[in-house]
């Protein structure tokens, strides 16, 4: 392996070369920063990266090299450059949620997900641009300007994890962390032609993720390939005492899903050697009529309405045909309450946000604007100067639906309908469906500035938000292009069944081959 073709390499290949001493971590840092410079990842061009420090990253590379030299278990991400969304706390680089209210803030602690990446040998190279406080679907709500899509710079990169998806699509890193509340990893991944995964609620610790809507928030992974996403999630998943909603359910080795077999028993010694990087994952067989034998894939009619863009529909039908050719059974299903998901989400998420964002008041951290007229005036001046238009709108929307007289009609009602939406998913999986396939988005990436109506922007999440409300895992995989823009297909599975989700995703990626990007 050579760093010359860094932008094409998967994380597993990079890590194995570093562990074998064939590639120096410092050369990978230089390759990543060179790529970022060549493509114009800074604020005046694509605006992908908000914060980076090459000198600090080179010091991190030296530590990794020392671990290689001392023959320690460096980890499955040895020497892999990784980018982190700007709402995930990291030591050394600022964490500002792309907001003026946190300008210059450097967290004194680190998110568990980032600590686990570093413990497995990863090197943090950048904090990426995003919609302010993850509120948006285009990264146009960043206080530092929109991220441009590396595939077509006239278009948005999607959001809210637009910078992370663009960083991977541009070849700056093979893996990036994003976060999801309503589709904020999957939608930008679909727009940029890369893979994006949102795990089951509770699968990944939220410790260090700046809270937006705590009952929905999850850290997710953007990858150059399904394997990159599987490897990244495998590392960051698992119980964490610092997050009381994190689960103690065992984490399988998701990369073994590529072999097209059920998950091995937990704590099997052979597979544990793979987990820590001592043994490689066996090479998967090429796609065959048996790859998905016995797998039932549901096609929900509510996600294929008559109004669906024909380009998106045709690419989804091609993907479904590939599933059939690999032995899967396609079953027409219904998730009847899914059309209610956008109204439910845009009541619950702003309600939770209005509470979570109360902490940004100019007292403990971040911006303070003090007009000299007392405490209340300082609160109002600080928050008005620090929050952008969409964040202000959502705080007010959330305050309204929680206020006396409206609580039952909006907030409590939305919580009950959320139960019905989750029940729809439970029923489908209980009836023998192993995975659900849908388009990730109703359209490909749209031009910057094209959508000004807030509710029209909210509709971008129409196919992704149900998985957040139900708490189930979902992944977006490239399934082709229309008008030269990437299109994503979404695979959803039952709670904590990321293994089956990855199995179907690996098969789809292999079954489509180069067509996934054509």
């Amino acid at each position: 392996m050579s760093v010359e073709n860094y932008t094409q390499l998967g994380a597993a290949a990079i890590a194995s070369s570093v562990r074998a001493g064939q590639v120096l971590p410092a050369d990978l840092i230089r390759a990543s920063f060179k790529r970022a410079a060549d493509i114009g990842a800074g604020p005046d061009e694509l605006n992908i990266v908000l914060y980076a420090d090459e000198k600090a990253s080179l010091e991190e590379a030296e530590e990794i090299q020392n671990r290689v030299n001392s023959a320690a278990d460096v980890g499955v991400l040895a020497g892999v450059p990784v980018a982190i969304k700007d709402n995930i706390a990291s030591l050394g680089l600022p964490t500002t949620c792309a907001s003026k209210i946190l300008k210059g803030y450097v967290s004194p602690f680190e998110a568990t997900a980032v600590t686990r990446l570093r413990a497995n040998g990863a090197m943090i190279v950048a904090k990426t641009n995003m919609d302010e406080f993850a509120m948006g679907s285009s990264t146009e709500n960043s206080a530092y300007g929109p991220t441009r899509n590396p595939v077509d710079v006239r278009c948005v990169a999607g959001g809210s994890s637009g910078g992370s998806a663009a960083a991977v699509a541009a070849g700056i890193t093979p893996i990036a962390l994003g976060s999801e509340t309503g589709g904020s990893v999957r939608q930008p991944a679909a727009f940029c032609g890369v893979v994006g995964v949102k795990p089951t609620y509770g699968r990944v610790s939220r410790y260090g993720l700046v809270a937006f809507a705590s009952s929905l928030d999850q850290i997710g992974v953007v990858g150059r390939s399904v394997d990159d996403a599987a490897l990244g999630l495998e590392v960051i998943a698992g119980f964490d005492k610092m997050d009381s909603t994190s689960s103690e359910v065992d984490v399988p080795i998701y990369r073994l899903a590529a072999l097209g077999k059920p998950a091995p028993e937990a704590h099997d010694p052979d597979t544990e050697a793979i987990r820590i990087g001592r043994s490689p994952v066996p090479l998967p067989p090429p796609p065959s009529p048996h790859t998905l034998e016995g797998v039932v894939i549901g096609k929900p009619r509510e996600y294929f309405p008559d109004s669906l863009d024909t380009g998106i529909r045709d690419l989804c039908e091609r993907a479904l045909e590939r599933f059939r050719s690999m032995g899967a059974t396609i079953r027409d299903i219904s998730l009847p309450r899914s059309p209610l998901a956008i109204p439910v989400y845009y009541i619950l998420a702003p309600a939770e946000a209005s509470s979570n964002l109360a902490r940004f008041d100019g007292v403990r951290y971040g911006l303070r604007v003090d007009p000299g007229k007392g405490l209340k005036a300082m609160y109002e001046a600080t928050r008005s100067a620090g929050f952008g238009r969409e964040v202000t709108r959502r705080i007010l929307l959330g305050t309204y639906v929680l206020s006396a007289g409206y609580y039952d009609a909006y907030y409590k009602k939305a919580q009950a309908v959320r139960t019905l939406i989750a029940d729809d998913f439970r029923s489908v999986f209980a009836a023998g469906v192993n995975a659900i396939f849908t388009p990730t988005t109703p359209t490909p990436a749209f031009p910057i500035g094209a959508i000004s109506d807030p509710y029209e922007m909210y509709l971008n999440d129409i196919f992704t938000v149900t998985a957040n409300l139900a708490g189930v895992p979902a992944i977006s995989v490239p399934i082709g292009r229309m008008r030269r823009l990437p299109v994503g297909g979404q695979i959803i599975t039952a709670h904590f069944d990321e293994y089956t989700m990855f199995r179907v995703a690996y098969a789809l990626e292999a079954g489509l081959g180069r067509e996934a990007h054509q």
Binding site: P108, A377, Y400, A414, Q415, A416
Partner: protein, 104 residues
Amino acid sequence: MAVTREDVLHIAELARLGVDAARAEELTKELSAILAHMDVLSQIDTTSVPTTAGIGSGGTPLRPDVGVSPLMKGTLESFAPSMRDGFFIVPRLATHEDPSESGA
């Protein structure tokens, strides 16, 4: 349900957000338009449906009631807007203040 200008000013005060007259007019229209899309939920019968406040984790268990030191690598002074003797300094409350002394 249409939102009024008075509603906007009321919730802005609750949320500690200063909103000027022009922005209050805009927000009145924007929030009314968004909430109009939520009215569809009123048609759903949820009489016997339990509410969902969180998903999949079995609730939020309580940890032992003992003090835990924050895992901080930096000091409060490194990011707080104003500190003195280990305390965050805030402006005086309006009811007690002398404007010439406020702002800590």
